[in-house]
Subunit: 513 residues, 2 copies
């Protein structure tokens, strides 16, 4: 058994059985090994940023890592931007990066680069394998590192001769270290705050906006009157009818400040203290009131889920019923403009158990409010602000959850970063409906420009345009094998969305604005 | 004057007046400053890898740096793969990367990352600006660093408050340090080798396959009988009728070994010793004969052009006429298969002074041989092996050389990495004809897989396919505003190429294989 075979077998034994891959010559023995490891599903991507975004989406929906396969330093480089987002989403992921054979590397061939240095900024664990005999051990350790709470990026660099060398051994899964439990005084401190009568917010991070943690948070809120919040950049939120309501902290600084003004106390559950996305000469960096007492129930590295359970127990709230969102029939669209009709249409047509991926930036701002009382669903957003994650996230989430419809909202600027993901959606025939809001501009930047400059000049404005030429997203999508249509009225949009979801296949709806 | 304004003015005073830009909120004051710096041409790109590839092409054709403008660490991350290629091309480039305001950065907002660490692997100079007052000095230093021989990647990180702060000062250009001249004994050593009667190759790197250096090399070859070679990964070669002939070292290891077998001596002019692209269990890593004496006339950091001139003088060859390639009418295509007809068609239709960008991997292997005696032209290739540079290189070369036709040969796999570059070509209406060889597979990897595995399995082969779905490159190009056609016969190809060049506008020819 060669090193490549031992590595793949070790990974699938540890539950890592999906590989988003864009390999090259130095990874060819790992590709060859796929035929001896049928349990590893290889999903091809045409650009590496699709792979890391997809692995992120997969991990958000399953809680477990997928792996990726990249060609040397440049392949890893192309994957980094969505690794930044994945770091911020605190998901587990195992990146396999091929390297030159150890004897060839010192010759500095054209594709040589310092892969360890490239991996460093966005990996929380990394290791350069040495030889075939220990590649299985390296793989088992990479998975354990990735699964260490709350979820980490692990990068394993695999020299070609370690992959092709004989003597590989399949290694049993390694258990990740359990996350440290928050200390008793942390729980006690938070109980005191929650019972002192002051207006309190609980900010849910580290995967606590889903599953039993969300229910526990709902009990705490019902018992104490605290309000549940999530960072603007949450990873995954279970929401809609039957779920406890968690309010997202606003992106716009002034809105976040207004939203948080009432709170004298804030409890952080594996979440960072809310700050403005960007610094500004005129707006505050911190969005919480100056006199707000901010206390951590658990850090991101601690056991947030366990901390919430302990808090429920300390509050004697095990039997308290959380306040659950009622199903709310969608409101009729107001006006005949398509943009005001879309949120209501989405809310009406959102199927039970759908997965929504939202990277629609300015155009989609009404979507979450409109779907608050829709059928139960999951909502995924961009966690790190690096645009170009929407389509890849949708691909990964769809592969993670066969049979569940996925609806992906994209701004046209964001979409263009990783449009190659549509091809993978077509290749795998994934039921993803992608809505592209085509305003032909980086609209959010024009807002920022207007805020920064008194009277922005024409050259500055032009630098933020996505036209001319105006991209034809329908033709673009079809060229990549994805069915597509254009919706210019509210009726056309509702029809296209219904048909798109019912098609159970990848499809795109362009909404020209 | 704010920092942003002083920086742009300092750059244009130093000759850096093209900016390939994909900015965000933290760079909005640099965007705003464009309207007070009309000499800076901003060229928008929809993905950062297009910017660095274009800046590379611009520098290869002009010898001077363009600048880029990126949004924080993720923006720079997307730019890295083509920075790898640019490092290997030894071109000058100035990257401007925005960062959070210095007072905001410690709050670790979602888009924060370690930009210095991200820049490190592919920058030869980097600096984090501190404040507006010194941003001009920083900019002048960045340009001087970029222009230090043979050409370097310089990355300047610009915090938002340094850009918006008042007190900026325009700074005069700084002279880069002159490259060290090779020592006299290096010249004397090489003269001895070139006159000892042994079969000798001269490998031309560091921009010596163009201009006066190429003529000097031609004189040396004519005087001594040495053969002129270029690395497989040369940056730019002037070739065709009227130019000294430089033979490219082959990619395939066995072919390179055969090509170099005759040489007992090899003189390196700012070039690395030839090695195989990848290590292999069965093929050699070094492609030169074991008894070949390899000597450097100049290192890449030394004055290669000056060294060639000194060598010409030492050989008393100032008046020797280099052997120049005669114009050769293109041979008639052999057979009726389109792939055998394309090289002859290209040779026949290549306009005088054209720029050819070649990233056609397996499909384009006959192109250089067929165009050896075509009208004089420049040839640019991928220098670092990171695919996805062809279209961006063409954009940069075209902007650098208004009026010159550009023909870009792409493999479909490579093209898909940075297809967003077509949009910029359309936006700027650049006369680039892009030929996409659509074999729907990473063909080179299937060859490597066949070499590595006895009998590759179906899952491995499938992981290297670009279908299904088969991408429609004609529709894809049109959707991005670029005229496109499909050529399935030799006649169709010749007609499309002629019309494409004559159109004086961006156009694509898909060649399905």
């Amino acid at each position: 058994m060669n090193g490549a075979e031992s590595l793949l077998a070790t990974l699938v034994n540890a539950g890592v059985d999906v590989c988003f891959a864009n390999p090259g010559t130095s990874e060819i023995h790992l590709v060859d090994a796929l035929d001896r490891c049928p349990r590893m599903r290889a999903v091809p991507v045409l650009f590496e940023g699709v792979a890391t975004g997809a692995a992120d989406g997969y991990a958000r929906m399953t809680g477990k890592p997928a792996c990726t396969l990249f060609h040397l330093g440049p392949g890893l480089s192309n994957a980094l931007a969505n690794l930044h987002n994945a770091c911020r989403a605190q998901v587990p992921m195992v990146n396999l990066v091929g390297d030159h054979a150890t004897f060839h590397r010192p010759l500095d061939p054209p594709l040589a680069s310092d892969i360890e240095a490239i991996a460093l900024p966005f990996s929380r664990w990394q290791w350069s394998a040495r030889r075939a005999e220990t590649l299985g051990v390296d793989g088992a350790r990479a998975v354990a590192a990735a699964c260490t709470a709350p979820g980490r990026i692990a990068t394993l660099i695999v020299p070609a001769d370690a992959a092709w060398g004989e003597g590989g051994e399949i290694v049993a899964p390694e258990s990740p270290p359990p996350p440290p439990a928050p200390k008793a005084h942390q729980i006690a401190d938070v109980v005191r705050l929650l019972t002192n009568g002051a207006r309190t917010a609980i900010v849910l991070g580290a995967h606590t906006t889903q599953g039993p943690s969300l229910v526990a948070a709902g009990r705490i809120a019902a018992r104490t009157g605290a309000k549940l919040l999530a960072p603007f950049t949450f990873g995954r939120m279970e929401r809609g009818a039957g779920r406890p309501v968690v309010e997202r902290i606003a992106y716009v600084t002034e809105m976040a400040v207004a939203q948080l003004a009432e709170f004298r106390q804030m409890i952080l559950v594996g979440a960072p203290a809310p700050v403005s996305f960007f610094g500004s000469p005129t707006r505050p960096s911190r969005v919480t009131p100056e006199d707000c007492n901010i206390v951590a129930l658990a850090s991101a590295q601690e056991d947030s889920a366990g901390a919430l359970d302990a808090l429920v127990a300390a509050l004697d709230a095990q039997k308290v019923e959380p306040a659950l969102q009622a199903y709310e029939p969608p409101r009729a669209p107001h006006g005949d403009m398509i943009m005001s009709a879309i949120p209501a249409a989405v809310s009406a047509l959102l199927p039970e158990n759908a997965i929504v991926v939202d990277e629609s930036i300015t155009s989609g701002r009404g979507l979450m409010a409109a779907t608050q009382g829709a059928a139960a669903h999951d909502w995924l957003v961009n966690t790190g602000g690096s645009i170009g994650i929407g389509v890849p996230l949708a691909v990964g989430a769809s592969l993670a959850c066969p049979g569940r419809p996925v609806i992906c909202f994209e701004g046209d600027g964001s979409f263009m970063y990783t449009l190659q993901g549509l091809w993978t959606a077509a290749h795998e025939n994934l039921p993803i409906t992608t809505v592209i809001f085509a305003n032909r501009t980086y609209a959010i930047l024009k807002l920022e420009l207007a805020a920064a400059a008194n009277n922005p000049g024409p050259r500055a404005m032009k630098a933020l345009d996505l036209a001319p030429p105006a991209i034809d997203f329908v033709a673009l999508s079809k060229s990549l094998g994805v069915a597509a249509t254009r919706a210019t009225t509210a009726e056309e949009f509702a029809l296209a969305l219904r048909r798109g979801i019912e098609s159970n296949a990848p499809n795109v709806i362009e909404v020209p604005l």
